[in-house]
Structures are given as structure tokens and as C-alpha cells.
């Protein structure tokens, strides 16, 4: 039975707890495209590096984005050339920077899934509330259902999904029902402890072949999710077609700022091209679960955390990075 976890944090936890070794050989865990950094196309990084080198602009970002390669360079590379880049834990820090220095424009690298999009909503909400106009966001926001649909449609090798726990906190577990019914597959929404993941895997095995969505994280996930957050997201963002590294454009799989908030956008539309650095790199197939990291010819040889050939090795939630640092084989 092939079970896919779509959330990078689940991939990391599975390795962390040593779960693969506890499972029967007949259960194969496959990492899916749930790492927002890994699925970001080079066009997006190039736009960020360009912005960071422009006078009067500072790019603000989460840590993982710093090492991802654009066509020719990463944010870390341009920092060494004088690019203005700052790393934060919370995007809300951008407000503090903007208030402290009105001569600069601060652009936040807004990547993420449904868990993180509400955070960007709050950033803009607060900016508007306090009249802060020197903030923008460059978005590469993705949504889960469309890409899961793509995997099922184009690969058809998955027998069950370990559904993302924190995405579901916002969206509600019901978003997986149409997928479960279309493909007659079980979905188990799970938390992030080792035991919670094992429970979810057990439930998926028991329910194989059934169209069933199970919420195994009821302390934070409900069927409908955080509806207030969903409303706020709708206020600022609309669905759009989005480019996924390794997959290409998937219709309706992203979010972009509504026209009336265009003043806050740093040029997010049309960032769709993805440059492949090494023709032997198979990030595309790893991201969609078509192959395991260990099946990529570059894995562990030319491609390591110190000499990354593709995004899957760059992000600490990337499948390849995870397999490498934990020496996973399964």
C-alpha cells in the first residue's frame, strides 16, 4: 500500500521518530509536494533577488528561502553582493521594520500553503489599519486540493493520504471529501507526534479502498475549519493558476492578491518559468512521489546538503534533505 504524506512537516516527523522502520514492508511512505519552498519556481527567486538589489527595497523572508537557487543565484548569494535581505520568524516583524524606516520598502517573500496565508492576511490588515504603505508581498501561495488532484490524476499510484494537520486547521477536513469520493481513497488528517502519525497510518490501512475522510486531530481540526480565517483570506486573495516546480502550472492551485490590493503586490503574477540547473536532477519526480529521493541519480553523490542541485535538498522540509540527513532508505 502506498501512502503519501503531503506536508513537509509530516515528512520531517516521520524521519525524526524512525517510523519507516516500524512499518511492514508492504507499506510504502511517499513524500508529496507539501514543502512550499521546494515547489517554488526559479522565476520567483529571481524576482526576489532582483528586488533585494534594487535601491530602497529590503526583502524579508523565512530562513529556508535564503539558499534556494534562482536561475543563477540565491538570496544568500546576493546578500554577499550587497542585496538587502532580512530573516524573520514571524512575517509580522515586517511591520516593525517598515514603521522604523519609512525611506525603504519592505517586501515579504510570501510563500506557504493554507496554514500560512492567513498570516499574510493579518500582515496586510495591520498595515492598512496603521496606515503603513511601505510594505509589499511577493506571493507564491499554494493550495492543497488541486495538487493532490493532480497527483491522483497523473500518477494514480497512491492508496491513501496522510492529510496535513495544520492546513486542515484553517481549511477544515471537509475539503478532502470531494477528492476521497472522486478517487475512492481514504484521507487521514493527522497531528505531528509520532503516535498520532502511527494512528493515522493504521487508520489508512484499515480503510484502504474506501472513500473516507477521517479527522484524527480533533483538538485543532474541525470539519469546516477556521471560518473567520477563511473569510479574511477571501477578502484579500483570489484563487489563481500557480506554477509548481517539477509539475508546471496547475489550474486554481494558488492564491494571488485581489486587484483592489494591487498596491501591496510586488509583481507576483506571471512568475511561472522554472530553470532546471542540472539535467539529471529529478526533483520533479521526487516532489510528486513518482520516485523516492534515493532513486535520483544525483542523490548523495553530486547532490548533498552542501552541494544542492535541486530544491528538494535545500529546504529542511524537502524530501531529499530529509532522506539524506536521516540516512533513510525507505
Amino acid at each position: 500500500m502506498n501512502i503519501m504524506e503531503v506536508c513537509g512537516t509530516h515528512t520531517a516527523e516521520i524521519s525524526h521518530c524512525g517510523i519507516p522502520g516500524l512499518l511492514s514492508e508492504n507499506i510504502h511512505l511517499i513524500s508529496g509536494p507539501g514543502c512550499p519552498v521546494c515547489v517554488t519556481v526559479t522565476d520567483y527567486i529571481d524576482k526576489l533577488t532582483e528586488l533585494s538589489l534594487a535601491p530602497g527595497i529590503t526583502v524579508v523572508t523565512f530562513g529556508d528561502m535564503l539558499r534556494v537557487m534562482g536561475k543563477n543565484q540565491s538570496l544568500n548569494d546576493v546578500k554577499a553582493l550587497g542585496g538587502q535581505v532580512r530573516m524573520v520568524y514571524s512575517p509580522m516583524d515586517t511591520l516593525k521594520f517598515a514603521a522604523a524606516d519609512k525611506t525603504k520598502t519592505f517586501v515579504f517573500a510570501a510563500v506557504g500553503f493554507e496554514t500560512t496565508t492567513p498570516v499574510y492576511v493579518m500582515l496586510l490588515n495591520e498595515a492598512i489599519k496603521h496606515g503603513i504603505t511601505n510594505i509589499k508581498i511577493l506571493t507564491s501561495l499554494k493550495t492543497m486540493p488541486a495538487v493532490i488532484d493532480w497527483v491522483c490524476e497523473n500518477q494514480g499510484n497512491i492508496d491513501g493520504f496522510l492529510a496535513p494537520g495544520h492546513v486542515s486547521t484553517i481549511t477544515g477536513s471537509d475539503i478532502f471529501i470531494p477528492l476521497a469520493e472522486k478517487y475512492q481513497l481514504p484521507f487521514a488528517v493527522a497531528g505531528f507526534g509520532g503516535e498520532q502519525i502511527l494512528e493515522a497510518l493504521y487508520a489508512l490501512v484499515k480503510c484502504r479502498g474506501k472513500a473516507k475522510v477521517m479527522n484524527l486531530y480533533p483538538s485543532v481540526v474541525t470539519a469546516k475549519g477556521n471560518e473567520a480565517a477563511q473569510e479574511m483570506v477571501k477578502k484579500y486573495f483570489v484563487p489563481c493558476d500557480a506554477a509548481w516546480r517539477g509539475i508546471g502550472v496547475i489550474a486554481g492551485s494558488g492564491m494571488i492578491l485581489r486587484d483592489e490590493y494591487a498596491a501591496f503586490d510586488a509583481g507576483s503574477a506571471e512568475l511561472t518559468a522554472d530553470h532546471i540547473h542540472n539535467p539529471k536532477c529529478r526533483c520533479a519526480q521526487v516532489l510528486t512521489g513518482a520516485i523516492k529521493p534515493t532513486q535520483c541519480p544525483l542523490f548523495g553523490t553530486e547532490c548533498t546538503p552542501q552541494a544542492q542541485q535541486g530544491a528538494c535538498m535545500v529546504s529542511t522540509e524537502g524530501s531529499c534533505y530529509n532522506y539524506f540527513v536521516n540516512k533513510r532508505k525507505a
Partner: protein
Amino acid sequence: MKITMTHGSGGKATSDLIANIFAKHFQNPVLAKMEDSAVVPGAATLAITTDSFVVTPLFFNGGDIGKLAVCGTVNDLAVSGAVPKYLTCGFILEEGAETEDLEKIAVSMAETAEEAGVVIVAGDTKVVEGSGGIYINTSGVGFLADSCCVSAANCAEGDAVLLSGNLGDHHAAILSARMNIANTIQSDCAPLNDMTAALMKSGVRVKAMRDVTRGGLATVLNEFAAASQCCILLNEERIPVSEQVRGFCGILGLDPLYMGNEGKMVAVVAGEDAQKALNCMKNCKYGENAAVIGEVASGEAETVLLNTLIGGIRILTELYGEGLPRIC
């Protein structure tokens, strides 16, 4: 008063700085001679080490760059089985550094050196352009008994692995300051030479010792596994981490096994001596949370394995990447 390029010129300003800050606090007969070299009694076999300290902020919960500079070098000597004796310290000061800060650092170094029983016998000061940074290099010399044989290559199947206390405190203390997370986590910065001396005298067969600094426990044990061509097996539930540091790691997605410490050591001892070694560590000032965390097992060489809390096995590699910003 701010440091300027004149303080680094080698003239009066320099000698005043040395007299008023370094000589004043590092007082000892050797240094007082102010010769070009410190001439000191020695031993047949010496341990020598050097380390540089570039941490920011300079002052943090539980310590400062000066205390770090003394402990770091003392500990490298101590875990080699040596009795630390003499330290040198070189300062590189950026223009704009405050002499008040420098004096606080010197006082801290003097206090730590006294606790560790070492003497600072030589030093140097340079000033460069910049924005107020302070960097310290310390080199250290220790004496080794001829019979001493502690080495990363000595680990053998059946040996026990001990850790002297909680992981992650130093790293968390530094990061908390930088990321504005309020807590009471203190750096664990401390000299470990009393602990290593006690272990060496206790009759325990000590195979290897190392202090658990940058790269964390996982990196150090990988070094042992590689040098000894052995397999090390750890039990996650035995590894001590404070509740607060666990919470901190949870917020930022960090792993205590890869975090830096400045007052913790790992010791590999003969299996039968495990309890004796544990008692010895626990009786020392900085060993209250010491624990036996694993063993050298039969298995694939150069491998470190962790029995996880849910009963899985995880392979622990050395740290890849930078972990996080400079912490020592």
C-alpha cells in the same frame, strides 16, 4: 569610552588600555613581567589548543564572550585528559567598541580563570575599522600524565556513553536574545576540568571525552563512531533536555541533538564502570543532570543510532548546513 584606532597603535594608548583593563584584572606574576613571552614551568607531555570567539550578543543570559573564551579553551584541554594550566588571549577590537564592555569582559575572564585554576599569561590587542565588535582568541596549554590515553579512537563494543547534563541551553539562550523570545534559559557556559579530573582519578576506565559544542551531541558522537569505527546506540528517553528548552525548540523547529553547548561533555567509559562514572559526574558542580544515554553496540561501523520515544530507530548524521547563526 570608545575604542579608536589609536588604541591599537602600540603606543601609550595601547599600554594604558592593557594596564587599566587586562593587567589590572588578569593579575599574576608571569603577566606582570610584561615580557615578550611568558616563561613558565612545563611538563613532559603537553596538550595545546586554540579557539576563537565571535558570538553576538556579547552579553547573554548566563554568560558573556569572555567567560566563553576561557571555558571553551579550558574544556578542550580538560576533555583531552589534561590539567589546564596556562591561557593566552588575543583581542581584536573594532573601532567604536566600549571600554566599559571590555572591562566587564576582562573581569568575567579573570573570575572564570580563577574558578578553573588557570592563569592568563600572555595576550595581544589589535584594533580594526568596524562598528564596535569584540572578538577573542584564546590558546591554552595543559599538562598530561604519561599514562593518559583518552582518544576518540578508543571506543569499543560494550562501552557506555554518558552525557554530563541538559542539552541545548547555550544555543537557546543566544537565540532567545536574538529572536525576542522571553524565557529564563541560561547559557550553560562552565569549566569542566574539575569533572574531567574527578573522572580520571576515580578508577573509571575513560575511553574518550569531548565537550559538546557547535554541531551538538549528534556531531560529536559521529566523530567518535568514525574514529573508532564503531556503532553507537542512544536512547532518546534518557537524553536530558530541560522543559523550557524543549518548548523553545518546539516553537522554532530545532533539534536539541544538534544544538551547541558550552558546559557539557560526553564521556565513553568501559561498560562495567558506567554507574561509577555517573556517580562521579553527578557529584561534580555541573553534573546534576548527568545520565547514561547509550552504549557502543554491535552494528554498522561509523553509525550513530537513536531509539526514538515511540520505539523507532533513527540514524543520526553529523550536522549539515550552518544549523543557525554564530553561537560561540
